[in-house]
């Protein structure tokens, strides 16, 4: 199986290499046969890499511990479900997984467009092949997942060894969500490649019109949604598994995933200026380029050990490969831009600072400021070490202090944007539209202040959250009211019709509402509380409105782990409301412990209970309880964000033409070729 897998990866490498070289020759000579063969070779990498991945998964299921990767990331007791997750749990497997996802994207992009854009697609195919080639070189020669376990004998010869059992999958990954989170992130990262290929192809080929930007936008939305879901799932996983009561620690690897997501968000806004008004062409092309570069930089940070992170893979020399690749991409982008910069000249210019265009401009500026702040904070310890010789720590307080105001300003712009018209908005209309959402926000803020909310940022977030939500709802309401007046339909069905007529716009508003919910959820952090206490049966712990009474401690085990478990009864006042069972597991293969958090979640707050283990001083069990307000809003916001994105990706439904019945029967002349009648009810 390992030989078949290795062979498939070598063939995939050759196919990608051929697709790149033949693609360049095809572009130069314009010979259709060569162009077609290059495209087919590019598509062929997908089945070949799939075969390689299939072989590795099969080796996991066969418990083939002569394979180094299998022995390091699996064991016999590992449940079958997690043997899939083992595929991407280490450096070699995750790089293969990356290649596989990239080959899927490339296959779809090449197949869907095989009969479209004949001037553009050869460039797209060659660029995708170039990126695939890089990753396949890594899979074959730098981090092969099919390496064998070997020992060097007395004669100096290497012997293949089959181990009795493997080291097992790290317990942190033995959680259902972890089977979904990394693929989502990787789909997001690799998804940056397709828009990059279209942008660079359009620039190199000086492709006329804005068609490429529509394609790039749709692909960006897909990648953006996957990355966003991946980030949220990562946060949810950290919250449920790591047992520290939080979901985001500004860890370098977390930051690395956030960076391309931010620039993609900027692109999804500024692209509208190019589509509607032919503006911001240079900006958009560079946003796509930078997004791709950030996805590679993120991979470099995760895998090279440049910055220390609990998420990072083992330190290795692979970083130099990524640095070289990143340098090549930079050079290619700069040269392509410089040689074709006249192609990116804008058709129009900004008419007024109070316009939709300027709100996008500010939105982009602030998003890039956030991106810079995160990147700067992530890399600053490295700069500091280079210049001062001593390493410093850039922890969560830095990122919060710098990014919270930026994020709140962005939230403000999210509300302002829909109130502004394209080209120019008068002050009076701005005041008219602004007054009641902002006024209501201030009233809600005042009420919250009166009820004891004294946290400045949480208060501002609440006011802006209300303001943005109301502007979004008023957008739906105003449009639906016009439709309702025309068609006579009720307001709710008019909202549905309105949304389906312009899915992108209204899907976008729903995404904005999801962001508001996420912000409100995050603002709850300001009011987090926690208590840690040694407990024995019968002892109590009070937190917020809850009293936790310890009923019992017991132990369980299976062939994968042994566990200690607490039974906690939760009282609210004098009423027993639930039982919670926080647990602490010891995984036998890796001898690593893992907390299993007991959680009672509501829209108001989460009661989050961790069995911290036995106190090192006197061996008594220790319970750590957290009361985290509004966390559920974050996950709800994520769900709304996904729904909005799906809606925005749907095609618009055209308004139906309703033919009025004639009062008198008309004289109908038979036609030679009768056209099919279209009635409203046919749809």
């Amino acid at each position: 199986m390992d030989i078949i897998g290795s062979f498939a990866l070598i063939l995939a490498l050759l196919a990608a290499g051929y697709a790149l070289v033949a693609g360049i020759i095809g572009i130069r000579t314009q010979r259709p046969l060569i162009i077609k063969s290059a495209r087919n070779a590019g598509m062929a990498t997908f089945p070949l890499v799939t075969l390689g991945v299939g072989c590795l998964v099969a080796l996991f299921f066969q418990n083939n511990f002569s394979m180094a990767y299998v022995a390091e990331h699996s064991n016999r007791a590992l449940p079958a479900f997690y043997k899939f997750a083992a595929l991407w749990s280490g450096q070699e497997g995750s790089l293969l997984f990356w290649s596989w996802l990239l080959s899927i994207y490339a296959f779809i992009a090449l197949f869907v467009n095989r009969k479209k854009h004949p001037e553009l697609m050869p460039y797209v195919g060659a660029i995708l092949a170039g990126v695939q080639l890089f990753f396949l070189v890594l899979n074959n020669f730098v981090a092969s997942p099919f390496a064998l376990v070997g020992t060097v004998g007395a004669s100096g010869a290497t012997h293949v060894v089959t181990l009795a059992d493997g080291s097992g999958l790290t317990p942190l990954l033995q959680y259902g969500e972890m089977v979904i989170h990394p693929p989502m992130l990787y789909l997001g990262y690799t998804g940056c490649t397709v828009p990059f290929a279209f942008a660079l192809a359009a620039l190199l080929g000086r492709y006329p019109g804005e068609k490429w930007i529509h394609i790039a936008r749709r692909w960006t939305m897909v990648g953006w949604a996957f990355l966003g879901v991946g980030i949220l799932l990562g946060g949810h996983w950290a919250y449920r598994v790591l047992g520290w009561g939080g979901y985001w620690a500004w860890d370098p690897v977390e930051n690395a995933s956030l960076l391309p997501w931010i620039t993609e968000t900027a692109f999804l806004h500024s692209v509208m200026m190019q589509e509607k008004r032919g503006m911001m062409r240079v900006w958009n092309v560079w946003l796509v380029f930078i997004t791709f570069m950030l996805s590679i930089l993120g991979t470099l940070l995760t895998r090279s050990g440049v910055v220390s992170s609990i998420h990072a893979f083992a330190q290795s020399s692979i970083g130099s490969w990524f640095v070289t690749f990143l340098a090549i991409i930079c050079v290619v982008c700069v040269v392509a831009y410089w040689k074709n910069r006249d192609y990116l000249r804008s058709d129009n210019q900004l008419d007024s600072v109070i316009s939709r265009e300027s709100s996008f401009l500010f939105n982009n500026l602030i998003l890039l400021a956030a991106c810079f702040a995160v990147l700067w904070g992530t890399l600053f310890p490295v700069f500091s070490e280079w210049i001062e010789g001593s390493k410093i720590t850039v922890g969560p307080p830095f990122f919060n202090k710098v990014n919270v105001p930026i994020a709140l300003f962005l939230l403000f712009l999210t509300g302002v944007g829909p109130l502004l018209a394209w080209r120019r908005t008068s002050f009076s209309s701005l005041k008219r539209n602004f007054a009641w959402p902002l006024g209501t926000g201030l009233v809600v803020g005042t009420i919250a202040f009166a009820f004891g909310d004294r946290h400045f940022y949480a208060l501002v977030c609440l006011i802006l959250g209300v303001f943005v939500s109301l502007t979004i709802f008023s957008e739906f309401f105003r449009g639906a009211r016009v439709l309702s007046a025309r068609s006579g339909a009720n307001i709710f069905s008019s909202v549905g019709q309105l949304t389906m007529r312009n899915t992108r716009r209204y899907g976008g508003y729903i995404v904005h509402f999801g962001i508001v919910l996420i912000f409100i959820g995050i603002s709850g952090q300001a009011f987090n509380r926690d208590v840690q206490k040694e407990m024995h049966p019968g002892s109590e712990l009070a937190i917020g409105p809850y009293t936790l009474v310890c009923q019992n401690f017991d132990a369980t085990s299976n062939k994968n782990y042994t566990a200690e478990r607490a039974t906690i009864e939760v009282f609210k006042g004098n009423r027993s409301v639930m039982m919670l069972y926080p647990e602490r597991r010891l995984y036998l293969a890796s001898q690593v412990t893992q907390t299993v958090v007991a959680l009672h979640s509501s829209l108001a707050s989460d009661l989050y209970v961790v069995y911290a283990g036995r106190s090192p001083q006197d061996n008594n069990p220790v319970i750590h309880a957290y009361l985290n307000p509004l966390v559920r809003w974050i996950w709800l916001g994520g769900l709304v964000l996904v729904l909005g994105t799906i809606l925005a990706l749907l095609p618009n439904r055209q308004p139906q033409i309703v033919l009025q019945a004639a009062r008198e029967p008309a004289q109908i002349k038979p036609l030679a070729a009768p056209a099919p009648a279209h009635h409203a009810g046919d749809d």
């Binding site: 520290w244 890039l368 001062e388 410093i392 720590t393 412990t593 090192p616 220790v622």
Partner: protein, 169 residues
């Protein structure tokens, strides 16, 4: 007229951005207000090398106990002692920097090269705003140059009449 309104709105946006950014930088440099050891425990890192947490939040994943490790407990004990001696928060933190190096602080110091950690996230957006301002100003100059002479009401009326006749034809 338009220029004035643009100026007013831009100034308002600047003021808003400044207010928010300066609020953050002020809070970043606010002096410690005699907070206790618990607050300071969140400002120094656990120096065991096995985790990436503050001494107070030290939570060793994979370890035997999800709570402060021996190193973190020792640091918290030192912290309590120094706070108990009546030293100011800044002095206490400084003593930890002398003992463990600057990496013990959870945030970059606000002196020397490390001050740039705090300054750049403010400077770069301001430069960005200035750049956008310049680009927009250039666009507006170009637009003004491209505009023709003002059209008189008589000329407009004649043009409308002409359009009406063309439409009738």
């Amino acid at each position: 007229m338009i220029t004035n309104s643009i100026r007013r709105s831009s100034v308002a946006l600047f003021v808003f951005a400044f207010a928010i950014l300066s609020a953050s930088s002020i809070s970043a440099q606010a002096p410690e207000s005699g907070a206790g050891a618990k607050k300071l425990g969140n400002k120094i890192m656990c120096m065991c090398g096995g985790c990436n947490d503050t001494a107070l939040k030290c939570n060793h994943m994979g370890g035997a106990f999800s709570g402060p490790c021996e190193t973190a407990r020792a640091e918290l004990k030192e912290l309590n002692e120094r706070v108990g001696q009546g030293k100011s928060d800044d002095l206490v933190l400084q003593s930890f920097v002398q003992e463990y190096g600057p990496t013990v602080l959870i945030s970059p110091p606000t002196n020397g090269f490390d001050l740039w950690a705090w300054l750049m996230p403010v400077i770069v957006p301001l430069l960005g705003i200035a750049l956008v301002w310049m680009v927009v100003a250039r666009w507006r100059r170009k637009m003004a140059a491209a505009d023709g002479p003002p059209v008189s009401p008589e000329l407009l009326a004649r043009a409308r009449d002409g359009m009406g006749r063309d439409a009738d034809d």
